[in-house]
């Protein structure tokens, strides 16, 4: 029988990391995600699986430790919250540029600046549109349950290693802090060094006599060489956009109106949808699970018959721009959001829904 546990989303991330054979975690404390490193330190996996856990001197150091580990082909990760994730952006750009696999976790809090420790989804732009410098993309998974916090660790690593690209779990502070029941993933052993060499022949684990030296760098001073690197990255991103889109939908088949929301906001929209259905409104919910690649095609399909879309976010309206691009002017796209750590109630979403679409 599967073992059901009750824990916070942040704790689930830590347990899942140990269980899926992570080689190293490097982090710096910041609310509301500190339980990730605290749980790891408490579990002391260096005594069991041999996983390295290290509290770095800063987020900047932590992400560069991730670079160093990932460049060896090791399975490494970090976690942080919004201001800390801003500090990591330089390293994220280098990791994407050097095409290294790793897992990043951002348990978002309200900004800008030091902002608040209350939950938010306002790092959508930072995560899916760039954040660091240059043309790069992060495979971005948005969990809405503690179960998904646990499950997306392994999924994130799998996608990262499939494409030699950083993957991000973009959670809001609610999903990080709330307790729910969860079934933790089964134990997977860490790869041996020989297995790492086989899976990542490009890794810098020390030269062997049968190959040239490996060099991990994102530098190419000549324009033609750098453009070729960029073209290779863009071609990879097109494949990811084609193959790796994940979303969940409810009641969309006959929907006149579709909520689009991720993470906690999707749970709130689910409640609003149920209530509106009872009132006779044909409302559906599309929850992007990958924020990049975005479910653009599915939204465009739904726009053929829906009368309108409404994006609900814990921000001033960021994902709504991608919904608009997908809908491409066919029907109205509206928005409701709260900021600063506030969360809309289902009633508030229902009221805004009726107001936005002029319904009674």
């Amino acid at each position: 029988m599967e073992e059901i546990k009750l824990m916070k989303g942040n704790e689930a991330i830590a347990h899942a990391a140990i269980r899926c054979g992570t080689d190293g975690y490097f982090g710096y404390p910041i609310t509301p995600q500190s339980e990730v490193m605290e749980t790891l330190m408490d579990e002391a996996p260096w005594n069991t699986t041999g996983m390295v856990v290290l509290q770095a001197e800063s987020e900047v150091a932590a992400i560069n430790m991730v670079y160093g580990g990932a460049a060896c082909g090791k399975k490494v990760m970090t976690s942080s919250s919004s201001p800390g994730m801003s500090l990591k952006q330089e390293g994220v750009s280098y990791i994407a540029g050097a095409e290294l696999p790793c897992l990043l976790v951002n348990v978002m809090r309200g900004g800008p600046g030091l902002g608040t420790i209350q939950p938010s989804q306002a790092d959508y732009f930072q995560t899916v549109k760039g954040g660091g410098h240059g043309d790069y993309r992060l495979i971005t998974l948005a969990p809405s349950t503690v179960q998904e916090m646990a499950d997306f660790v392994d999924l994130g690593f799998e996608l990262a290693f499939r494409y030699n690209n950083p993957a991000m779990i973009l959670a809001d502070g609610i999903v990080g802090q709330m307790m729910e029941k969860v079934v933790l993933p089964p134990f997977k052993p860490r790869r041996t060094n020989d297995e790492v060499r086989k899976q990542c022949p490009w890794g810098t684990m020390g030269k062997t006599d049968d190959r040239e030296r490996n060099i991990i760098t994102s530098l190419a001073l000549e324009a033609d060489v750098m453009e070729a690197t960029n073209n290779r990255l863009q071609a990879k991103y097109r494949i990811i956009e084609e193959k790796e889109v994940l979303f969940e939908e409810q009641n969309c088949e006959d929907a006149d109106y579709v909520f689009v929301a991720f993470g906690s906001a999707a749970r709130l929209c689910g409640n609003a949808m149920d209530a509106l259905r009872e009132q006779g409104f044909k409302v559906g919910l599309l929850r992007p699970i990958t924020l990049w690649p975005f479910p653009t095609k599915r939204i465009a399909e739904l726009a053929q018959k829906a009368k309108g879309f409404m994006s609900v976010e814990l921000s001033a309206g960021q994902m709504v721009e991608d919904v608009r691009l997908a809908v491409n002017g066919k029907v109205p796209v509206t928005f409701h959001g709260r900021m600063g750590g506030n969360i809309p109630s289902a009633e508030e979403i229902i009221e805004k829904f009726k107001e936005n679409f002029n319904l009674k």
Partner: protein, 253 residues
Amino acid sequence: MTKQDILKPENLVYQKTKLLTKNVMHYCPGCSHGVIHKLIAEVIDEMGIQNETIGVAPVGCAVFAYNYIDIDWQQAAHGRAPAVATAIKRLLPEKYVFTYQGDGDLAAIGTAETIHACNRGDNIAIFFINNGIYGMTGGQMAPTTLEGMKTVTTPSGRNHEMNGYPLKISDMLALIDGTCYVTRQSVDKLPAVMKAKKAIRKAFENCQLKKGTSVVEFVSTCNTGWGMSPHKANLWMQENMTARYPLGDIKNI
């Protein structure tokens, strides 16, 4: 004696360092980097650890160090090499891991990473090239630029009231409990080169002795950035740089 006779292996008195690649170095003639690269390559070869060594290159003139020494390399973001090296060593504790950093990389933008890698006593070697100037970006002031020294961002000479003092970071690192070996060397004369090579070897050996972090500073020249001939740059270094940055072991336990 024909040319072919002279070229016989038993007549060889000198050959190219085995682990230096065939790539043409981009360093200016007279620059200290070339000699230091060669010494590091020789030590790795002599210790027989080519396949056991991972280097971390900086941002600065030595960013292309990976083109010249035939081992696995990572190129780190500016100043972050000690953090990168920390992770490599923690994940591959049996390997020899070193960083190669200039004064801007190690003593300005990377000060925090340098101090904390040393404070953790991570078993890595840090090779620190101090030429008192930013070479790659065109000769701007470094944290180690001497007072009165002219650079393109201190055209009237470094003035401590405006720019602070030349940072003796190796002395700071020697105060940290996590370091086991901090030494200041130069490569301007043959005896100095021989001593510097011994220091490099000791730093590598310390990597497996679990004694802590080793730091080898090389008081160096940047004849291009200083606007001098290589010979004059060496003389200027001997007279001025070593007065502020005296050569020798600062810590050796």
